[in-house]
Each structure stands twice: as C-alpha cells, then as structure tokens.
Amino acid sequence: MRFTDARPDGRSVVYAHIQADPLGTRAGDLLAAATTTQRLLARAVMNGESLEPQTWQTMFPTLFGPSAPVPGDPVRDRSEAILAASLQVADRGEQTRSQFRGAIVEALTERLLAERTGPVHRERRILFDGRPAEIHPYDATVEADGAGEAWDCKWGARGIKADVLHQLDDARRGAADEGGRLLVGLVVFDARRSCEVRLVRERGPVPLEGLKLIALEGLDRLAGRKPA
C-alpha cells in the first residue's frame, strides 16, 4: 500500500485556489475548537439565504441570547467569529459557496486528525499492488506505518453516495489483501440522524461494519476527544 499525490487536473487546479483561500483556513481553525452548536451555526449560515447577522443571533439563543456567554468571553467571541466567517462564505456565489463548504470540512478534518495522529495529508491516492488505482483522491489521509487512515469529507448527508462508499471499502479491502490495515471513513458536516438514513439507502453491497461515520455531533472523535 502506497500513498501518492493526486495527478493534477482542471478541477484540482481550480479547487486548490479555494483550499488556499485564507477564509477557508480561518473557518477550519475556528471550527476545530468549536462546540457542536457553534458548528451547527456554521452549517445553517453557510446553507442559508439571509446575510443579516441578527437573524442568526436570534436563531441561536444559547450562543447569543441573554443566557449565553457575554462578549469578551472566549466562547462568545468564537461564536461571533464563526458567524462572521460563515456569512462571508454565504455571501459568495452559489458555486463558490459550495466549493468553500467542501474545502472547509476538509480543512477541519485535517486539523482534528492532526491533534490525534499523523502525518496527515490531503488529496492523496492510495495504490495497491495488482489493483487499478482509483481515479479520485481521498480528501484526508493519515500515512502512519501500520495505522493508515483514509477519509472522505462531505458537507451534507446528501454527499454520501454509493460510489464513495465503494471506493472507501475497496481501499480497506486492498490493504487487508496485503496483510495490512487501513481505517476508512466518512466525515460529514451534518447530523448523524440524516447521515444514517442516507448511508443505509446508498450502501449497496458495501458492508458498513468496516466504515467509520463521523457526523457533526461527533467530530471531536477525529481528534481523540469527547464532544465539546
């Protein structure tokens, strides 16, 4: 089993600009240390229509209401910063917004994985002897000897599709055939409840036992910590 860089193509060149944008980097940093409700705020705002901060502050009373931490408190400041960054993403055109959201989930995943293990890479392919290489790279990989991991990242549960599950399972089986072990999974910035119903419908012949599902409420597990 070998990890290699993905071959550059038109999509990757365009996407590389999105991944390198400081807004995505900042959002990834903020969300890595966020609570589940703060992450839900980011999801709602980046999915939303309204660009008025007051709307979202009213919608999340536990973050911004009278009983929330006061301005100046680190938790409150993080909520404000997440709201501001999310509104900036929402203010982009629909296509750019969609690309940003994907890049943010990848950046977040990279940061959380790096808290627990490493080395962590993005956009890498995995090659196995005697097997044709998959076309699409994995969003995040952990390339530790004997403890490799391959993760695909999705903004929403709708991104869970049969071909994604098949590719992850194929990599897991490829590693096993070589006598190795590869942990494979999906990181989805959406509620576990929504992910599970999607997963069951899309699984096809793929056994789910070998596939990790990390949903919005459980993102801290990637870092080896309990949900905040």
Partner: protein
C-alpha cells in the same frame, strides 16, 4: 401566555412541511426526503411528548420564528433538501435538545 415546547415544535414542523413541499420536485431524492421526514418528525414529536407542556426556554420562541422565516426564504429545491436536515437540528438546539 408564554409558548410551550409543544407550541414551538408545532411551528417548526409547519416550517418543515413547507420545505418538504419545495423539495418535492427533486424526484431523484424522493426516498431521501421521505426518510428525513420520518426520522426528524419522530425526533421532534418525541421531544413534544416528553416536554410538551414545559414553557419554552428563553429565546426559543423568537429563534423558532426566525428559523421558520429563514426556511421560507428558500426557493431552490436542492437547498430545501439541505434545510430538511438543518431545520430540525437548529430547532432542537434552540430547545436545548441534542439532534
């Protein structure tokens, strides 16, 4: 008279129904929409059954109102499907419940 948890869940479900109607033309996702409807409606109703008579937590009344307004702004069917997952999560957070 202050709103109860059951009142707010009824309002959230009304917003959820309106979203489902907007998402309906996306025929390829009909099964997923049906599944979302089943699991999230059940989750919200379970909270209403357990806490329905309680007064709503501070700020929750306004939170659900702007949440339903925001959902009403959605016109695109694909975005409506995304909101079918988002709206219940936000409503539950406003009520102090986990998704």
């Amino acid at each position: 008279m202050p709103a109860t948890v059951a009142d707010l869940i009824d309002r959230a479900l009304a917003g959820f129904d309106a979203l489902a109607a907007k998402a309906e033309p996306i025929a390829d996702e009909w099964q997923y929409m049906t599944d979302l409807d089943t699991v999230w409606r059940a989750r919200l109703r379970a909270v209403a059954a357990a806490r329905g008579d309680e007064p709503a937590p501070p700020g929750a009344d306004d939170a659900i109102a702007v949440l339903v307004e925001e959902a009403a702004r959605v016109t695109d069917g694909h975005r409506a499907i995304d909101w079918l997952s988002t709206l219940p999560q936000v409503a539950l957070a406003a009520l102090g419940e986990a998704a």
